[in-house]
Amino acid sequence: MENRAKTPLTVEDLWVEYQIERGVVKAVRGVSLSLAKGESLALIGESGCGKTTFGVALIRLLVQAARIPQGEITYWRGNQGIDVLSLKESELRRFRWAECAMVFQSALNAFNPVLRIWDQILDTAKAHGNMPRHQVRERALQLLEYVQLDPKRVIDAYPHELSGGMRQRVLLAMSLLLDPQVLILDEPTTALDILTQRTIIDLLRRLKEEIGFAMLFISHDLATAAELADRVATMYAGSIVELGPVDDIFYRPAHPYTLGLIRAVPTVTGDFEDLVSIPGAPPDLVDPPPGCKFHPRCPYVTEQCRIEEPKLETHYSETHSVACFNVRQVQQDTLDLQERYEKYVGGKAQ
């Protein structure tokens, strides 16, 4: 049994489906994860792989057309386990902001344009907790300063008076208002400029280190994951296909999809390198292929992959798991990445 005090959120075999005209979209298929206190876990994958659905399901904000046929989400408040999926609406409110806050994609549209920042902060505090007004104000000013904004100016500003990066920082400050244990960030740096992105990344890292909440961030951008994550989970067609410490994922990837992503992303520093794209397109989640969902695009495909879907199993170490039958073949093709890693580690030792 895991140490409960250290894992505020555990997810067990979670499924999410959407009912659409054409049939049932299986957006999340049997995901199990646990988030440790003070860690940041990156969930990476392409658009439509179910990563945002998964994030939204964690705080039960799914749209009407969605349902959770199976699974368990447990939130640990001290030693008391709370079954999130059976929470009543009133209890959910408290859970949502005070225990588990989510910062959505496109910070630019997350604010009400006709309300000052202060009113929006106050509304949030009222809706999800019962802190007195002056205390909210004090805490808000503190947090705004903490995210490197000029608190006096920002708190009385309207959203349009703030730049994209500033709004993203206000959102972060707001998400911390009620001291949540878990913070879910959906594409926190997408749509921001390079220098702004850098500010947010550095800020997130500092917040995580100083406050020590558990952070799940959802991103399609491998670079953000490389910057911020302690652990990385690769998602494909609704399932986690690989999960491990960040260095394992980037230098010893064991799933062909993870390797494919790494090979497809150019780096800025260094010489020109040839890149390879992954052939084909992500599968239709209404009518997914049999067996491993990645097999139609996979260069390592065997007969077994077409029939049977591999399970997420540990590999290399207790902390690194992968869902693939051909790990050994994949591994042989990652020698250059491993070498690169050795070089870094060697450089550090000297």
Binding site: E46, S47, Q148, S163, G165, T189, D193, I194, L195, T196, Q197, R198, T199, I201, H220, D221, L222, A223, T224, A225, A226, E227, A229, V246, D247, F250, G260, L261, I262, A264, V265, P266, T267, V268, T269, D271, F272, L275, V276, S277, I278, P279, A281, P282, R340, Y341, Y344, V345
Partner: protein
């Protein structure tokens, strides 16, 4: 002077573009000049609002410059009275643009065949529908949309983002252009498909001799696509550094280029976490309505020198072969005399 240099396929000279009303005007592009040789790839990089798309639109003839000129094959695109020049049609057929958003740039009620055959028939590049179909099939093969039967009669909504962008590229190729402006052409496409699209566009350069102006905010994409070409870095309406791609990536001169390169997160944990940062003095991008005096980067620049940078506006000045930079300090360090720096505004 109304004649371009023969050296370049397309040339921008002192391009300026303003927007707004008479009361309140902003200069989105301020005195941008560069030339692109036949077969070359030039990348325009910069943050949002720096004027890169506006520059691209002026180059593609979709936007008339407020002042300054665009030359295509040595001839001015706009005549002195600001009307279309005599060779406007040659220019329009020779220069095409690929837009950023593949979900918005294709007509949703037209099939792929219709989208691609319309320009062919309109410009009489195909004599009849039979010929048009043949050419459409050929184009789909060029952009890697095969088997062709699977795509010909599909509507845009039946295609993925990457496939749509390939249709956009095919559409731009219908008129056999010599020059393509690609405005953030891969930014909205998923990572796994992006490289395939870039490689396909690179093949067009090699096989058909297409010249590119490639606009992007992503330095890694710029490096990958324009490794043999050049990169121009734009900041608040002007080009601050222009150099061959390897030079710019490995040895940037302008403090803004340095800051950008140091700030880019990389998909390599050890590399990205050990990168040396450039600390800027301010995080704020200046408003186009209240531009800083002198060098526009001076309020943020780590190398800021009072009395110089906030007084004189640096000019893009050549430093060695094929490379220029607009920074007083960098030029001084290179021991180069700056040409005609102007005093702009009063220091705060």
């Amino acid at each position: 002077m109304n004649v371009g240099s023969g050296e370049y396929l397309i040339e921008a000279r002192n391009l300026v573009r303003q927007f707004g009303s008479r009361r309140e005007r902003v200069t989105a592009v301020d005195d941008v000049s560069f030339g692109i040789r036949e077969g070359e790839v030039v990348c325009l990089v910069g943050e949002s609002g720096c004027g890169k798309t506006t520059t691209g639109k002026m180059i593609a003839g979709l936007l008339k410059p407020t002042s300054g000129q665009v030359f295509y094959m040595g001839k001015s695109v706009w005549n002195p009275r600001g009307n279309r020049g005599e060779d406007f049609k040659t220019y329009r057929l020779g220069v095409q643009i690929i837009h950023q958003d593949p979900y918005a740039s294709l007509n949703p009620s037209h099939t792929v065949y219709k989208i691609l055959s319309t320009p062919l028939l309109h410009h009489k590049l195909a004599a009849n529908t039979h010929e048009a179909l043949e050419r459409v099939v050929e184009l789909l093969n060029i952009v890697g949309l095969g088997p062709v039967e699977d795509f010909l009669y599909k509507y845009p909504h039946q295609l993925s983002g990457g496939q749509r962008q390939r249709v956009s590229v095919a559409r731009s190729l219908t008129v056999n252009p010599r020059f393509i402006v690609a405005d953030e052409a891969v930014s909205m496409v998923d990572v796994s498909i992006r490289v395939g699209l870039l490689n396909m566009m690179g093949d067009l350069k090699r096989n058909l001799g297409v010249t590119y102006l490639f606009i992007t905010h992503d330095l890694a994409v710029a490096k990958f696509f324009a490794w043999e070409g050049r990169i121009a870095v734009m900041y608040v309406g002007s080009i601050v550094e222009f150099a061959s791609t390897p030079q710019l990536i490995n040895d940037p001169l302008h403090p803004y280029s340095k800051a950008l390169l140091a700030a880019v997160p990389e998909a390599d944990p050890e590399l990205t976490r050990s990168k040396e940062r450039v600390e800027l003095r301010s995080q704020d991008i200046p408003s186009l309505l209240a531009l800083p005096s002198g060098c526009r980067f001076h309020p943020r620049c780590p190398n800021f020198e009072p009395g110089l940078c906030d007084v004189k506006r640096p000019q893009l000045t050549p430093v060695g072969d094929n490379r220029s930079v607009a920074c007083h300090i960098a030029l001084r360090e290179a021991g180069i005399q700056e040409a005609g720096a102007q005093e702009v505004g009063t220091p705060a």
